[in-house]
Amino acid sequence: MASQDIVRHDAGSRSSFLNDPKIRGLIYQTVLFVLLVAFVYWIVGNTIENLRRANIASGFGFLNNRAGFDISQSMIEYSSDSRYSRALVVGLLNTLLVAVTGIVTASIMGFLIGVGRLANNWLIRKICMVYVEIFRNIPPLLVIFFWYFGVISVLPAPRDSVQLPLSSFLNNRGFFLPKAVWGEGAWLILVGLVVAIAMVWFVVHRARKRQEATGQQFPVLWTSAGLIVGLPLLAFALAGFPLTFEIPTKSTFNLVGGFQIKPEFLALYLALSFYTAAFIAEIVRAGILGVSKGQSEASFALGLRSRQALRLVIVPQAMRIVIPPLTSQYLNLTKNSSLAIAIGFPDLVAVGGTILNQTGQSIEIVAIWMVIYLGISLLTSLFMNWFNAKMALVER
């Protein structure tokens, strides 16, 4: 101890402040920072210089020009007369559409399969295992091709569409459903729904209060379901059933009318869901296995039935293990959606790529891509972190 003190003291007095680890750290960081700034400065300067020399136009002004190309599926009004900026919004919305629907489906599938891998039934367990091993080990692009070229492309042509129940049709141009056309007074149904939701909220609140006070339970689930279905239905009847259906019909080339889901979307959505579900299943399985056995034994000892034990004890604890890795799966799914380009689904990358090519503004478009994907990822993480905090153990 003593000798150490002496050495230290000695070094401190003899040599400079450079040997102070704190100051040294600061110096290193400053140097690195300056180098980084110089590097970025050089890159940007060089890029601008090269662009200028090569006479390539730059800046974001091109976003206001007429796009000139059509997009096959769009959630907002769009035509070839729209601007490039609007085309990008169309692409972004398509990316979000496939990401959100994919995440919901993958979560549900992944949860069921993950639980299935722990089922008591041998067959279910094996089926789930085979599913996970297959989809986890195939690159997502191949899964997309499988759905697009392997499944949807081999469906019959529109003329010989497969007729499904409820006047829906399936062919190699997609999935066609009757479209609901709401008539006059349909707003009453919406009112019914809003009222029902408000009542459900009230019922849930009261039921919890009552259980806490008296220990008596109230059949919340059934009452809520009844309200949510019943009230809008009542409103629908009161308004005189203002609903007709537009049924897809055959024309020269294709089915027209009705609600159409394009094969490109279908293939991408199915592929991303199936692929990501395999990973989510493993995460769910790990989560459930991560809850110690004592927890379920204790809940059985308290007299909970196995379903109740799962819902009230196991799953809430498993969630804490599940949510963080789930977040990265959601981010992966969103980023994998950019593989859309391989099958011609007009997502952000596909539309951006077309614009890049028409205008030659590669740097600007690549920057837009990066900023948007970063934004989507950060928002997803933010939401999941919030959710995680909410689900985290609250000690009483």
Partner: protein, 342 residues
């Protein structure tokens, strides 16, 4: 995806490249010993590797012609296959010295993309192809209302398509892919009713379909597609070399100079031919261009004149059997007209 990565890399190259990309391309080319030429990935007749892996086609011949002009050796060329989307970044970033890939000469490509087009080696127009077996009775593009149309993204084709249907008040459903193989596969699988691109491309693509004879090309031509080689702006010497290599091939056809008779022609008394072949006494025409005086001889020995290259790759000597049409010499009612070498 990998294409997107390429584009990103191209963009990065713009940032990192020492600021020399647009300096003397000829010196760069001579220093590295070969011409790096951007061509199509696989469009039979224009540029596609044959079964031995040798690149063949009208656009490829132009690359070889430039190599022959620069080095006197047509093998000193390397090919970079590019799809519709990558091609421009590849040229802008300096990855290739020359883009010879059925690329339409348009104003925006000439200006905001920063290119110069060195002439037109194929006058084309956009057309439609349909499966006549599946769609009997359709014999005009105007009957395509409501059809799904397969098209490649990043092409002029995509824009003309939108304009044509709009102008004729027809509805359609674009099905857009990035890669040629994907468009072909989707069309062949019946995802679309029609396929649209340059007519020459349609003929070439038809050969790759499962049952080529079932498909017909509709008569309408909906656009002008002058296809030609492009170089970066800012290097006039290189621009001139590419431009005059193409003109030399066309002029050779006009004066009857062929791969077979070029050596014999060197003794021709015709002053035009003497100038073209650099046999005129004290000729400076080749050296003024930065080349040797026998540059045209080298080109013609390597790839033949324009007509020979045309017939061999896309004309009667090829499976495509495309007629000269607009691409006949101006003296034969076509549009191929080369500026005089003098």
């Amino acid at each position: 995806m990998n294409k997107t990565v390429k584009v990103v890399l191209g963009v990065a190259a713009l940032g990192f490249a020492a600021s020399t990309a647009s300096a003397a391309t000829l010196d760069d080319v001579k220093a590295k010993g070969f011409v790096q030429c951007g061509v199509n990935t696989a469009l039979a007749g224009f540029s596609a590797p044959d079964d031995k892996g040798d690149w063949k086609g009208l656009d490829v011949d132009l690359c070889r012609a430039v190599a022959a002009a620069v080095f006197g050796d047509a093998t000193k060329v390397k090919f970079t296959p590019t799809n519709a989307k990558e091609r421009f970044t590849a040229l802008q970033s300096g990855e290739i010295d020359l883009l010879s890939r059925n690329t339409t000469w348009t104003l925006s490509r000439d200006t905001s993309l920063g290119f110069n087009f060195a002439g037109v080696n194929y006058y084309d127009g956009q057309g439609f192809m349909i499966n006549a077996k599946k769609l009997p009775g359709v014999n005009s593009a105007l009957q395509l209302s409501g059809a799904s149309v397969c098209v490649q993204s990043g092409t002029t084709t995509e824009l003309n398509l939108a304009d044509y249907f709009k102008a004729n008040n027809l509805e359609y459903n674009p099905v857009v892919f990035e890669k040629l193989e994907e468009v072909n596969a989707a069309y062949d699988a019946g995802r679309c009713d029609a396929y649209t691109t340059d007519q020459s491309g349609l003929y070439s693509i038809r050969l790759t379909l499962a049952a080529p004879d079932d498909h017909i090309v509709l008569p309408e031509i909906i656009s002008k597609e002058p296809l030609g080689p492009a170089v970066r702006q800012g290097d006039d010497q290189w621009f001139d070399i590419v431009k005059w290599s193409l003109y030399a091939m066309v002029l050779a056809e006009e004066y009857g100079i062929t791969q077979a008779n070029v050596d014999e022609m060197k003794n021709s008394p015709n002053p035009d031919i003497k100038r073209i072949l650099g046999t005129e006494a004290d000729s400076k025409l080749g050296t003024d261009l930065g080349l040797s005086n026998d540059w045209v001889v080298n080109i013609i020995k390597a790839v033949g004149n324009y007509g020979e290259s045309f017939e061999r790759n896309v004309g009667q000597g090829s499976p495509l059997k495309i007629a000269r049409g607009l691409n006949a010499l101006w003296t034969k009612g076509g549009l191929q007209y080369a500026m005089p070498i003098r």
